[in-house]
C-alpha cells in the first residue's frame, strides 16, 4: 500500500486512539454537513418555485403595463419627453438586507418609496385617468422586478453554497474517512505484527533456553553418573582378585 493512501504516522497505541477520535469527529462532521445540505436544498426548491411564479406573473404584468402606456398615449398625447426631462431623484429605491438560511447569508432586496409623487399633475388636462392607471401598473411591475431580482440573487448564492457543501460532504465521505480508516487499519496491522514478533521472539528464546537446559541436564547427569561410579569404586573389597577382565590399569612389569 503506497503511503499517500494513509496518513504518515508512527503506529503506536496512542496514535491509534488519536486516529479513532479523528474518525469519530469526521463522521459527526459528515452527518452535520449532510443536514445542512438538505436544509439548503429545501430552501433552493422553494425559491425555484417562487421564481417560476414570479416570472410568469412578470410576463402578464409587463404586458398589462405596456398596453396601459399605449392607452395613456392615446388619450394624453406624447407626455414622455416632459416626464423624461423632469426626472430628478428616484421615487422608488431598493434596500438590501441579508437573510440567514442554515448558516448561509442570502442577500434580499426590498423596495421602499422615497418622497411623494412628483408627477401628480402630469396629464392634468387630458389623459389623467389613464396616466394614474399607467403609474400604478408600472409601479407594480417595478415591485415585482425587485422581488424577482432578490429571488434570483439568492438562487445563485444558494446554488454556490450548496455546491460547496456537497463538495465537502463528498470529500469527507470518500476521501477523509477512508484515509483515516486505512490509517487505523495500518496501525492495527503494525501493532498485531509487532505482537506476533514478540510472541515469536519469546518462543524462540524459550526454545533456546530449553536446549541449554537440556544440555546442562545431560552434563549434570553425566557428572552424577561419574560420581556414582567413583563412589561405587570405593566400596570394592581387598580380596578382590583382580581379574584380567577388570579394566583397570595394570601396573607395568619391570624385570
Amino acid at each position: 500500500m503506497s503511503s499517500h493512501d494513509r496518513i504518515d504516522i508512527f503506529p503506536s497505541r496512542m496514535n491509534l486512539t488519536i486516529m479513532k477520535t479523528r474518525l469519530k469527529g469526521a463522521q459527526k462532521g459528515h452527518s452535520l454537513l449532510k443536514k445542512k445540505a438538505d436544509a439548503l436544498k429545501i430552501k433552493f426548491h422553494s425559491i425555484l418555485k417562487k421564481i417560476i411564479e414570479a416570472k410568469q406573473l412578470m410576463g402578464e404584468i409587463m404586458k398589462e403595463a405596456a398596453f396601459s402606456l399605449a392607452e395613456a398615449k392615446f388619450s394624453g398625447g406624447d407626455f414622455s419627453h416632459v416626464v423624461l426631462q423632469n426626472v430628478g431623484k428616484a421615487q422608488m429605491k431598493v434596500r438590501s438586507k441579508t437573510e440567514n438560511v442554515a448558516g448561509v447569508k442570502l442577500p434580499v432586496f426590498e423596495h421602499y418609496e422615497d418622497g411623494t409623487d412628483s408627477y401628480e399633475l402630469t396629464g392634468l388636462s387630458r389623459g389623467g385617468e389613464q396616466l394614474t392607471r399607467l403609474k400604478k401598473n408600472y409601479s407594480k411591475a417595478v415591485k415585482l422586478l425587485v422581488e424577482l431580482a432578490s429571488l434570483q440573487t439568492s438562487f445563485v448564492t444558494l446554488d454556490e453554497s450548496i455546491k460547496i457543501t456537497n463538495r465537502r460532504v463528498n470529500a469527507i465521505e470518500h476521501v477523509i474517512i477512508p484515509k483515516i480508516e486505512r490509517t487505523i487499519s495500518y496501525i492495527i496491522t503494525e501493532l498485531d505484527e509487532g505482537e506476533r514478533e514478540e510472541f515469536f521472539r519469546l518462543k524462540k528464546i524459550q526454545q533456546k533456553k530449553e536446549i541449554i537446559r537440556a544440555a546442562q541436564e545431560k552434563v549434570r547427569k553425566q557428572w552424577e553418573k561419574e560420581q556414582e561410579a567413583k563412589r561405587v569404586l570405593k566400596f570394592i573389597p581387598a580380596n578382590h582378585v583382580p581379574s584380567i577382565l577388570d579394566d583397570k590399569d595394570d601396573e607395568d612389569l619391570l624385570f
Binding site: K63, A66, F67, A70, E71, K73, F74, S75, G77, D78, H81, V82, Q85, N86, V87, G88, E120, L121, T122, G123, L124, S125, R126, G127, G128, E129, Q130
Partner: protein, 351 residues
C-alpha cells in the same frame, strides 16, 4: 350677400386652400378602419395603408416596422400638408393658422423650460419638439441659463409672449409646477383665440366659437376631475379654467367648489349638451370613459364644421381630425404589435 362673401373669400385665395383642405381631409373610411383592425402584423397594416390616401409614406422604412416609426411618419405627413397650406396663406388666414400652431408651441416651450431648468442641451431637446410648434426664436430660449434669462428670452423672442405676460411672472417659472404653467398658458391662448374668432365674425365665428367653447368646458371638467386627490388647491384649480365656455361663469363657480366626481357630473348635467356625455360612462371594461366621450363629441363638432363653407373653421377641424386619425391608426398598430386585441375597437370613429 352670401354671394358677395363667396367672391371675396374665393378671390382672397382662401377658397383654393379651403378646397385643398377638403381634399386632404378625405381620410380613412369605416371600411378602411375595419380592414386595419383585422391585420395581424404591422406589415399588413402598412400594406392596407398603401391602398388609402396615405399611399406609400412608409415605403422607405427598413423592416422591422415599429409603432414609433409609423407615428413619426404619420405626423410628418400632417406637418407637410399643414406647412403647405400655411405657406400659401396670408393675412387673416395666416393669423388663424398661427393660432392653431400656438397650442403646439406651448407644449414645446414647456419642454424647453423643463429641459433648461434641468440643464439639458438644446441639441437634445430640439428633436423632441413637435414640428408644428417650432418657431424661429426657439434657440434663444435654450441659451438662457438662469430663470431670469429664460423669462426674458421668452418675453422678448417668442410669439407666446402675450400669454406669458398675462398670467405668469418670473418667480412663477421657478416655483410653479410645470403642468400648472402649461395649463395657465393654454387658458390664456384659448381665450385669445376665442376672442379673435368672435371678432372675425360670420360663419367663422359660428363654427369656431362653438368648438372652442366646448374645448374650454372640456378642459375645465377634466382638470377638475384629475385634480381630486392631488396637491392642487381649489383656488389654484379655478385659475386654470378658461372663461369662454358655456360653463362660464356659473358652472365654473360650481366646478371650483366640487370635491368629487358626482359633484362634477351634477354641475355638467345642467347643460343640455354635456348631459349625454356623462351617461353610460364608467370604469368597467367595455364602458367608454368620459375622455372617450369627449373625444367623440369633439369629432362630431369638427365634422360638422365641414358642412359650412367659406369659413376658417375647416382648417382647424382638418388638423384636429387628421390628428385623431393618426391617434386611431397608432392605437390599432399598438394593439396589433402587443397582441392585445381586446380593445382594438376602442378608437374614435370619424364619419
Amino acid at each position: 350677400l352670401n354671394f358677395v362673401f363667396f367672391i371675396y373669400f374665393a378671390v382672397n385665395t382662401s377658397g383654393f386652400l379651403e378646397g385643398l383642405v377638403r381634399g386632404f381631409k378625405n381620410g380613412l373610411s369605416k371600411e378602411d378602419y375595419r380592414h386595419l383592425t383585422q391585420c395581424d402584423t404591422l406589415e399588413d397594416l402598412k400594406l392596407h395603408l398603401q391602398g388609402t390616401g396615405y399611399g406609400h409614406f412608409l415605403a422607405n422604412e427598413p423592416s422591422p416596422l415599429t409603432v414609433s416609426v409609423i407615428d413619426e411618419k404619420l405626423r410628418e405627413k400632417l406637418v407637410i400638408e399643414f406647412e403647405y397650406i400655411r405657406n400659401h396663406a396670408y393675412k387673416d388666414l395666416a393669423t388663424f393658422l398661427d393660432f392653431i400652431k400656438y397650442s403646439y408651441m406651448i407644449d414645446n416651450i414647456i419642454l424647453l423650460i423643463t429641459g433648461t431648468l434641468h440643464q439639458r442641451q438644446l441639441s437634445e431637446l430640439l428633436p423632441k419638439c413637435h414640428p408644428l410648434g417650432i418657431f424661429d426664436q426657439m434657440e434663444t430660449v435654450t441659451i438662457a441659463s438662469t430663470t431670469a434669462d429664460l423669462y426674458n428670452a421668452i418675453l422678448v423672442d417668442s410669439p407666446l409672449a402675450p400669454f406669458f405676460k398675462e398670467c405668469i411672472s418670473e418667480e412663477d417659472l421657478n416655483e410653479m409646477n410645470i403642468e400648472i404653467i402649461r395649463n395657465t398658458l393654454y387658458k390664456a391662448y384659448l381665450e385669445a383665440f376665442y376672442d379673435w374668432c368672435q371678432q372675425k365674425g360670420g360663419a367663422t365665428a359660428d363654427v369656431m366659437c362653438e368648438i372652442l367653447a366646448f374645448e374650454a368646458d372640456r378642459r375645465s371638467i377634466i382638470i377638475t376631475i384629475n385634480s381630486f386627490g392631488t396637491e392642487l388647491t381649489k383656488e389654484d384649480r379655478a385659475k386654470l379654467y378658461p372663461r369662454r365656455g358655456k360653463l362660464y361663469p356659473d358652472g365654473l363657480l360650481e366646478l371650483s367648489k366640487a370635491d368629487e366626481y358626482e359633484a362634477v357630473k351634477r354641475v355638467s348635467e345642467l347643460y343640455a349638451e354635456y348631459k349625454p356625455l356623462f351617461d353610460g360612462t364608467g370604469n368597467n371594461p367595455g364602458d367608454k370613459t368620459l375622455e372617450d366621450k369627449f373625444f367623440e363629441h369633439e369629432v362630431t363638432l369638427n365634422v360638422n364644421s365641414f358642412m359650412q363653407q367659406f369659413q376658417y373653421g375647416v382648417f382647424y377641424s382638418y388638423v384636429k381630425l387628421k390628428e385623431q386619425e393618426c391617434r386611431n391608426i397608432i392605437w390599432i398598430a399598438e394593439c396589433i404589435a402587443q397582441r392585445h386585441r381586446a380593445k382594438i375597437d376602442s378608437y374614435i370613429p370619424i364619419m
